[in-house]
Symmetry: none
Subunit: 213 residues, 4 copies
DNA sequence: AATGAATGAGCCTTCATTCAT
DNA sequence: CATGAATGAAGGCTCATTCAT
């Protein structure tokens, strides 16, 4: 895809409370539109109207629609990254426990807003985003990779990417068409993840034989 | 997303050879545009130009861009479904062998055209497709579910959807950012799949004890 | 209105029965479309489809849509003209009797197909038609004018045009919004017509003096 | 005619003076186009160009060409309605005098712009207008009907519609093909109108008995 | 003669973006 | 800063018409 790289950083940082509120309104409006109309209906005019802000104001805060989308992605990734980092930094957790938590966190966000999540996931994959946004993805994978490496998993970078992709793929479909049963989905994802990682000495509490069903 | 359901079936069947060629040209042009410019650049004018066909001709065969997209999805799914059915019908294969083949087939198609695949996957998930197109997805899942059921897997319908989603999630990202190493990807996907399915009597090479939960 | 004068005569006279049938089918299809969709939906493609004829065939018989419209107008006027001439030629009728008949004939045609009539009336007034078609209108007015002159009406040409316009105006609206009560409409039109003509020696039942002027 | 009811109300009310000027320019441009090219040439692009306004601006104020047409009709009817109400409210006038004035007012407007008037009349009759626009027509008829009722005319609603239709029919044709001699046309219309109303006690110059009815 | 595939000008409309107020 | 009027490129789609088969 070769669309001309667009500016994706907010134009200016709001210094006043009112300005911050305007910016939030725009982003909330954008999320609403994306959820309701998908990427096809994601237009600056609609966003401004929904946000109760003039189109001129919108362009005071964002240089274009790509920037709004990028900011939505950035925030989503940043929140996820923070949660992941906290989990990965917790030395008290063994790998299965850490993965349980990572999966649980990821599922929560996905199921809470499946359509928006799917649209942002696609946008992130398909659109040319700025380096700064991309770096969040790298950090996300890196955090998981570090955790895996610490527990002796081979090829941790590839594994981290695979596992995130796997979980996201399952969660996307469950969100859209399934019954959005988080606990059940979590169990299924963990089975796949642990299968991927293989039987190893990484677990502090080895499970007995005898399958799950 | 509540876009107002668009017509997604071709407008008329070509009666002359020339007409069939035009229709193919349009579909090829559409695939090319989708690959090169993504869903954002997927416009009827671009498609017609790329196909070397007048915009009027395009509308003789398709009532709109949605219909072209739907037809691309339909063809992709139909081809995949055919391959899956052949594999699932082969009684000589045990479950691991059958899964090996399913994964291999799926990977081939995905890696051969990653950007196109991603766009079609997103379109299929996010756009409101017609019943007929959706039925192909159902058939695809059903084929895998039948295979799983025959080998004693519990909850085969959910499992089939999960496994397809899982594999597709991994393959999408590998196609976009990875090294497109099919055999390696295949091995990783299989690990996840067998982990998901759990240790069972289905395997000719039974897994050792110590699986994870 | 200065639209470029278009050809309005049928391209060729059908010599075979099949050809004549095709031409009739086209004209009937055109009337149907005009009735159902108005002048805005009057397109050659729709007409051909409705007529069950290929678009190519349509252009074998008519050089363009204007010609089809013109032919519809021509036929309508010709039929009316024939009826009018018969009435005007009947020496046995006095003026009130003749007018009764003229009005009755006009009303019948208008009420039988009000939407089509209105569209044709507008087309006749607003579109640039060919001399031959226009001449039918002249003949129609002339026929009435001759009748009026024969009974001593002053300014018969203007009167004929006025009376036709008057009756058509009333009939158009009655057709669209009224109860399409022909006899009642006829009575009302005749009151207006005789009022217009004023108390004169034309009637076999002469009116008393005291005109309205 | 069953065209899919289009929006016919202006999109937004102009808040700045500049905006009001733009809206007027659009309406004037639309009137010019209608006059010059008829309904067939009545396109948004032509209107915008003629108005010296971008096509985008046109769509800021009107949701489509139907809305522009509706607004032209609305204004024309509103002006006529105002004049009619003034006349009908004047208790000093007897019926013939009031009718004289109504006819004179109607003729003035029709002859001043015959092509535009004809196009608007047809549009009003043939297009599906909004309730609000239709209500102006009802008010117009109602005003005349009230006047007639006050003077003891039977069936005043039907009579009002008939008389308006009758006058409009005559004026439309006079405007297009006649010599646009207002006074003469007025006299002729009045003859028809009084003939329609019949000899009654309404006139300050009472008619003798012996009407045709 | 008949067919219907093909054409492309042109219509309607949206939308990202700018700029005067 | 905010507003909203204005812009025009561009996209979706139709329709009159031609022409090879």
């Amino acid at each position: 895809m070769t669309e001309p790289q667009a500016a994706t950083i907010p134009r200016k940082l709001p210094r006043q409370a009112r300005a911050a509120a305007t910016m939030e309104a725009i982003l909330e409006g954008a999320a609403h539109i994306l959820r309701r109309d998908g990427l096809g209906g994601f237009t600056t005019n609609h966003i401004a109207e929904r946000a109760g802000v003039s189109i001129g104001s919108l362009y005071q805060y964002f240089p274009g629609k790509e920037a709004i989308l990028a900011e939505l992605i950035r925030r989503k990734r940043a929140a996820l990254l923070g949660a992941f980092q906290t989990i990965a930094a917790d030395e008290a957790l063994d790998l299965p426990q850490a993965i349980d938590r990572l999966v649980a966190v990821g599922i929560d966000r996905q199921l809470a807003d499946p359509v928006l999540s799917l649209a942002l996931d696609y946008a992130e994959a398909a659109l040319p985003l700025q380096a700064e946004t991309r770096s969040l993805k790298v950090a996300l994978i890196g955090t998981v990779a570090g955790l895996l490496a610490r527990h002796g998993i081979a090829d941790p970078a590839v594994a981290a990417r695979d596992l995130i992709a796997l979980a996201r793929g399952m969660a996307d479909l469950e969100g859209l068409y399934g019954e959005a049963d988080g606990p059940s989905l979590g169990r299924r994802i963990r089975r796949a993840v642990f299968g991927y990682l293989g039987p190893g000495p990484f677990s502090s509490t080895p499970l007995p034989s005898g399958s799950l069903k």
